[in-house]
Symmetry: C2
Subunit: 243 residues, 2 copies
Amino acid sequence: MTTCIKVKQPNIKYVDCDNCSMQPICVPLRAGKTEVSIMDSYLSRRNTVNNSTPLFREKESADAIYAVCAGSFKLTEISSENNEKVIGFRFPGELIGEDAIHTQHYNYNAVAVGTTSVCKIDLKELNECGKLLPELQLNLISLLSKQNSMLREEFTSVVAKHTAESLLAAFILNMLKRNAQYQESETKLHLPVGRDVIANHLGFRRETLSRIFSKFQQKGLLTIHAKDMEILDLEGLKNIAYD
Amino acid sequence: MTTCIKVKQPNIKYVDCDNCSMQPICVPLRAGKTEVSIMDSYLSRRNTVNNSTPLFREKESADAIYAVCAGSFKLTEISSENNEKVIGFRFPGELIGEDAIHTQHYNYNAVAVGTTSVCKIDLKELNECGKLLPELQLNLISLLSKQNSMLREEFTSVVAKHTAESLLAAFILNMLKRNAQYQESETKLHLPVGRDVIANHLGFRRETLSRIFSKFQQKGLLTIHAKDMEILDLEGLKNIAYD
DNA sequence: CGTAAAGCTTGATTTAAATCAACAAATAAA
DNA sequence: TTTATTTGTTGATTTAAATCAAGCTTTACG
């Protein structure tokens, strides 16, 4: 089984091809090519995106969808007053830009957080191969459905939480779940971004976030040093999240 | 062009097949059948769901996806304390349950608000026909991508709004956009549900919702009588939403 | 290395929303 | 129709988060 190059850096998460969401598309796509061109097209599909660099920008015409191989991305929108609004994160194994299949253009900015690596699937190529390989289509359908369910879960986890505490608890649980497969430990979580970015995403202030982290530590729910978190009481967090 | 039966009731919204999201799937699926069986399978696909009745329930095994033809649905989850949490709404022309293609079971409850009508697409049938009709698959892919982008928009419109005012304004704009095609007027909006359900969905109290509606009326942004809203100042609402 | 800049935490005060409470309006039931 | 019940509005008080402000820590840089 072909494996994506593993980016071995401290706190850079990665997935190999076996654990990548894109695999059910990637493999039949490659199988439809000759030995030589496989490697060619396969390798050309892999890209490094440097810290703070956009993979694509809002409104850009969309010619490809991406799967994250290593590192994290933040998805942002820029408001009319030029404020950046963080609408989500994407981690290794997850798709980015899949909603552009329909809209033909990207609907948000996808910005690398740290050094990242992505697999690129050309939409034109996908479309052509799809006509010959019904299984490829089925896999893509399943993948989109999965992404859908991921989005809905994310939505549910943050919407209609009355308190900042339950919102943060739900956010942590969502991160834990999505990062489970490539965390060293089930209880450890490395935050890909700083307090400001998380606070922005969750819709409250850096100060509030800081206070809640302190409170959670006092309660013995977790410990946090800089961006490294350790969950001490998962049930306690769940109780707060699903108040 | 075949047309879904129009449910003509006051304040019941509907789409005919021409404007239905499901059409790109529905039509090729029907085209793969004989004349006689077309009507048969077509009609059998349409179902009426009565007020407060679940179309499906969380965790049920999923054998079909649905498109709303007429009326509205609320999507809910039941918390451990047996509280109903409204995680979203679905209106005519929109899909329900599409995320179950991947999970094989439904991930939330879909409950009819008033008398509703849905088109049912059997997943097994879809799967079989799909192997013969690549175009069907492509259409489904596009549809799922569209639903994805709808979910993301909904997410963005409600997440990380610091004030209840901007959250409600964003919610109204989201409703307006999604209901645009079958509203008599661009400025009129009929709320499918009561204050409690909207407040539940947005994560604040009935009283707060009521106060904000009053404030919006005082500001001359809109008028509201029971569930009938008229937008007077769209730009004003946008300013509040995208603070 | 020391200094600057950025990021994080904690405290005091203000502001927005929850809560408690009363009442009005609309709907359903008798 | 009258009465009961649900649903919606408004007011007074309490509570949670924003804001303003200061100090601390870490990282970046000359």
